[in-house]
């Protein structure tokens, strides 16, 4: 193995270095000046993100356990931008909301560790690397869920997350062992084409699927979602709802489309059924929610249904629509969570009713909220519309018209609750509206970037064209 090959792991290496640097600086910096760690961590991460843009060859390492290609490269860039936005949004929470600022460094170290896990998941070429990545991404994040130690809800969320995660990884590991028993290997490349359609391998498929479905919050593996999102600190919920989900979606897609292509006739029903179930259940629960974080939790369950829906077409269009939709979903959800975060930070209000009259007092914030929710609902010309558009095209291209119809019905239901929030903010008036406040600069930058991305990404077609051109990983 030479230097150039090592460089294929550039993202992982740089991120590990950053973790170490933050750790060291956390030791050096005195307790009363810990806030400076935020700047160090964010600054280092910006550098890391910029390095991520430097083109990289395709290739694999460690005999195929680790691999990278142009799609993975692009996907990691999207993840990096998303994480950066979340970091920016969490700064003021770390600085002002928590009484104890001495532990700021931990937040970054733990968050980056989890991201490292997701990198490994996305790049894995071997089931154990995938398993390791999965664990590395979940365990730190359950620690972060308990970051507000004195908040009972936060602790509850952490316990629930870690217990659910433990069960899921047990089932996941069981699934992997069955697949190993069937195929005789754990390398993705070796398994390719070797899985027979048998009771055993179907069981392996489902169990392995449920482990990833847990992270994507697909029904019926989603039950932890709302409780954890509500209890965990908002930046952590935000991270869980987008970044953590994205990694699992990506690797699930790769495994289903390529490694398990012999089981295509079986898993297509699995994907179909879970998609329908997830959309409906997510929507039905989202309808009832009053707490914004719970609301976004269920909305993210429903969105997971849409993400999964793109997987029914196992071809280039399918891959690109999954990745494109995922990217748009990441930014839309970060926008929505960011606004919720900003408001709950300054006022402590998290209920939908409290948002009445928000437009009059905080017009800019309301606009970002509107853009994000419109994008989640898929209203043109915001990015989300294009995401859904390519999703439908991909599904309809494979002849799944009924599924597209079901999806349209669900979009209609989802419009109801997304517009409910917008109605509160824009049309309702309130005697006690949320007073005008100024967010800190980190938050402002983050929300401004989200707004621009949401407006531009859909209309600027080269973005989709690029994703499409690197999505030719499937050779069906």
């Amino acid at each position: 193995m030479n230097w150039n090959q090592i460089l294929l792991m550039r993202n992982e290496i740089v991120l590990t270095l950053i973790i170490l640097l933050v750790l060291v600086s956390d030791l050096i910096v005195k307790d009363n000046r810990k806030k400076i760690i935020s700047n160090i961590a964010i600054g280092l991460f910006v550098i890391h993100m910029l390095i991520g843009f430097i083109p990289m060859p395709e290739g694999s390492l460690f005999g195929g356990m680790y691999r990278t290609n142009h799609l993975i490269f692009g996907f990691k860039i999207i993840l990096n931008v998303g994480v950066l936005l979340i970091l920016l949004q969490s700064a003021s929470w770390l600085h002002d909301k928590l009484q104890d600022t001495t532990k700021i460094g931990e937040f970054y170290i733990i968050l980056f560790s989890s991201l490292l896990g997701i990198y490994f998941m996305v790049s894995s070429g071997h089931f154990l690397i995938l398993y390791m990545g999965l664990e590395l991404s979940v365990l730190p994040i359950s620690a972060l869920a308990a970051y507000e130690v004195y908040n009972r809800k936060s602790s509850e969320a952490a316990i629930k997350l870690i217990l659910s995660a433990a069960i899921s990884s047990g089932v996941f590991l069981f699934g992997i062992s069955i697949l190993y028993a069937v195929s005789g290997s754990l390398y993705f490349d070796d398994i390719l084409g070797k899985l027979p359609i048998s009771y055993f391998s179907v069981m392996g498929l489902v169990f392995f699927f449920s482990g990833l479905a847990f992270k994507i919050s697909l029904v019926p593996f989603h039950l932890w979602t709302a409780d954890v999102y509500e209890g965990a600190p908002t930046p952590v919920s935000n991270y869980l709802s987008v970044i953590s989900k994205a990694g699992a979606v990506f690797i699930l897609m790769v495994l289903l489309f390529i490694t398990m292509n012999t089981l295509h006739d079986i898993w297509i029903y699995l994907v179909y059924g879970i998609t329908v179930l997830t959309m409906f259940i997510g929507n039905f629960f989202a309808l009832r929610q009053e707490n914004m974080k719970r609301f976004l939790a269920f909305s993210s369950v429903a969105q997971a249904g849409f993400i999964l829906m793109a997987m029914v077409s196992a071809n280039q269009a399918g891959v690109s629509s999954v990745v494109y939709f995922m990217a748009i979903y990441i930014f839309s959800n970060i926008g929505a969570f960011g606004v919720v975060e900003a408001i709950s930070m300054k006022t402590g209000k998290e209920n939908m009713k409290d948002y009445a009259g928000l437009y009059r007092t905080n017009p800019k914030l309301s606009l970002v909220l509107m853009l994000s929710l419109f994008s989640l609902a898929g209203i043109p010309p915001v990015a989300g519309f294009f995401g859904k558009f390519f999703l439908y095209t991909a599904a309809a291209g494979q002849g799944f018209y009924v599924l597209v119809f079901i999806a349209v019905v669900n979009v209609t239901i989802s419009l109801y609750y997304y517009l409910k929030v917008i109605r509160e903010a824009f049309l309702r008036t309130s005697d006690t509206p949320i007073a005008y406040f100024k967010s800190d600069n980190y938050m402002k930058v983050s929300l401004a970037i989200v707004a621009v991305i949401l407006l531009v990404i859909g209309l600027y077609s080269p973005f989709y064209d690029y994703i499409y051109s690197v999505s030719n990983i499937v050779n069906f």
């Binding site: 316990i159 179907v202 879970i274």
Partner: protein
């Protein structure tokens, strides 16, 4: 040579629009006006430069003008030939429009500095003017049919917001609504037509659509509908869209009402530029119109154009609101352009009609914008639109008077003013084609001269009414554009247009048919003399004249009751007998079903909320049993 800088022609006005539109509270008058004028000055200079470069340097290859795609950004990619892109295409048509649109818009921008001074919506006005200029330039530079459609709708929107500029006035709001609905309705035809056309042609691109081999393949399509090829239908539908924008009969009803907008807007949008978009569209697709099925669609254009010139000219004679006279005159003159396109042939000097249409478009833009701006100057000074309140203004407003006279002479086709040359070319082409068309055109030339000089004498001669304030000449910012346009209206006829524009893009030389020219000048003079007798001094001759025509006069005065007809059809027939039952069905059946679905959704979500118990052991149970049950279900699928 890299021509992608041409895209600046679009970007600058768009930028000005965004700047003024987003910060209209911060940027106060007159700064916003200066920003608008500055932006448009740059745009105009670039446009003129591009047009000059095209005509004299880069356009001509081997004796024929070429279509040059100067800039292209593919937006949505469907197949290798089919894509929606935003591009800039240069050809003689767009190069001519690159002179007309920015020049008139530039003059209107300057003029409005004076005209709109002190108006509360000054900044808003300039923002919309920039938006319009952007959209119109996008329309003429469009490189494919879909792009033209996008900008087509954008000019519609900016026209809507400018007609309704005085939104406190109910009549302005109504007029804006009417313009939008009528043109939008016509645009539906355009949209369907373009979808049909592109479905068969598999491309939106103009370079493909108008190439002869391509058209030859296209005419091989055997699909017919009521005896005509689908492509012909598509072209007729596209023409419906063009007729809507260009206010051809029977879709003309919105244009007279559109005069509720500020007068500079009428000059720019409803006289010189947007309303000729329909002519431009037909000219753009002219090879298709000409070659598909022997030009049946083109015959439709001829008939509509010919009828419209006569119809609108008759109404123009009877109107009292000076802007409405000009509006009907515009409809009539655009009819001339349509008619000229309709009768044109394709090759060499036979393409005279096509050339004449574009020539007339050019000269008409100059003199009609001048007439409107002149009318604006008059309205600005006497505060009324009605000729009853005017008279003897030549003493008070000398510059307006002279420029108005030049424009009136130009539109009446009196040599050596611009209108003479273009109208003469149209009539010469018509004479070759069809004598009835020629005769109508010739007769309407007389009517044109008459109603135009009726206006002129009534405003500037006649007797002074009792003015509350003595009228005064308008400020420099308004008279300078008048003079520039007057110069163009006087001399632009000498441009050898056939050297630049022709249907097959090969220049040819035209020669004057002196007999025909003499005939049309003759009837023009008759019209002028008649107007001189009736309106030079205050008298009751004209009233007696009107009485002599009796019922016919009354009909014409009421615009032949076309508006009332529309109202009857929509209100009495469509609303009562079609919409009302639908509304009932919607309220009771559709809403009932929807409410039912909504209520059951809420009910279901109430019932299943127990799933979410909050107990993590339940979650674990659901997880494990879920995975087990799913694998067992899938087992049944194994064959």
């Amino acid at each position: 040579m890299d021509l992608s800088y041409t895209v600046l022609i679009l970007i600058i006005p768009l930028f000005v629009f965004l700047l003024l539109g987003l910060f209209f509270r911060r940027i106060k008058a007159p700064l916003s006006g200066y920003i608008g004028v500055a932006g448009l000055t740059v745009t105009s200079l670039i446009s003129f430069f591009v047009a000059f470069e095209y005509f004299f340097k880069i356009g001509m290859v081997d004796g024929a003008y070429q279509k040059i795609v100067a800039f292209k950004f593919v937006w949505l990619h469907f197949t290798s030939t089919m894509s929606i892109s935003i591009g800039v295409m240069l050809d003689p048509l767009s190069a001519v429009m690159l002179i007309v649109v920015p020049l008139v818009s530039w003059m209107v921008h300057i003029y409005s500095l004076g005209y709109m001074k002190g108006d509360r919506g000054f900044t808003r006005f300039y923002a919309f003017l920039s938006l319009f200029t952007f959209s119109m330039l996008g329309l003429v530079l469009a490189s494919n049919l879909f792009e033209i459609y996008i900008f087509w709708e954008l000019v519609g929107v900016s026209s809507y917001s400018l007609i309704g500029f005085y939104y406190e006035k109910p009549s302005a709001v109504l007029a804006a609504k009417k313009a939008f609905i009528v043109t939008r309705f016509a645009d539906l035809g355009f949209l369907i037509g373009l979808l049909i056309l592109s479905y068969y042609a598999k491309t939106f691109d103009f370079v493909n659509l108008t190439s002869l081999t391509f058209i030859h393949n296209l005419s091989g399509i055997g699909t017919t509908f009521i005896g005509l090829s689908v492509i012909t239908w598509a072209l007729i539908l596209i023409f419906v869209g063009g007729a809507g924008k260009s206010a051809m009969f029977p879709l003309h009803i919105w244009l007279p009402d559109a005069m509720e907008g500020p007068t500079p807007v009428s000059a720019l949008i409803h006289a010189a530029t947007m309303v000729v978009a329909g002519v431009f569209l037909v000219a753009r697709l002219f090879p298709l119109y000409y070659f598909i099925e022997g030009g049946i669609a083109l015959d439709v254009v001829t008939v509509v154009g010919t009828f419209t010139i006569l119809f609108a000219a008759i109404i123009a004679i009877t109107q009292h609101d000076i802007k409405r006279v000009l509006a009907f005159s515009t409809i009539s003159q655009i009819g001339y352009m349509m008619l000229a396109l309709g009768i044109s042939k394709y090759e060499g000097p036979e393409g005279l009609g096509y050339m004449a249409a574009m020539f007339h478009l050019f000269t008409h833009a100059m003199f009609k914008a001048l007439l409107f701006l002149g009318a604006g100057s008059i309205i600005h000074s006497v505060h009324s639109n009605y000729m009853q309140d005017m008279g003897g203004l030549r003493k008070y407003m000398p510059i307006t008077h002279i420029t108005f006279l030049i424009a009136a002479l130009a539109i009446s086709g009196i040599p050596p003013f611009a209108g003479f040359f273009s109208k003469d070319a149209i009539l010469a082409a018509a004479f070759e084609h069809h004598k009835v068309v020629w005769f109508t055109g010739w007769f309407v030339a007389g009517l044109t001269a008459f109603y135009m000089f009726r206006l002129y004498f009534r405003i500037f001669w006649w007797n002074d009414p009792k003015y509350e304030h003595t009228p005064h000449e308008s400020p420099k910012s308004m008279t300078i554009p008048l003079m520039v346009l007057a110069f163009m209206a006087a001399f632009s006829g000498f441009i050898p247009f056939s050297h630049f524009v022709s249907p097959d893009y090969v220049p040819f030389s035209e020669h004057m048919e002196w007999g025909l020219a003499g005939a049309s000048v003759g009837i023009g003079l008759v019209g002028i003399i008649l107007a001189w007798i009736l309106y030079k001094k205050e008298n009751d001759l004209s009233t007696r004249f009107a009485l002599a025509f009796g019922l016919f006069y009354k009909w014409a005065y009421h615009k032949f009751y076309i508006d009332e007809l529309y109202m009857f059809v929509t209100k009495e027939i469509i609303f009562k007998h079609i919409s009302a039952p639908f509304a009932w069905f919607d309220r009771h059946v559709v809403d009932g079903t929807m409410n039912g679905i909504g209520n059951s959704t809420v009910w279901i979500s109430e019932k299943i909320k127990g799933l979410q118990s909050g107990r993590v052991q339940d979650y674990a149970m659901y997880f494990v049993s879920g995975a087990t049950v799913i694998s067992m279900i899938l087992w049944f699928l194994i064959k």
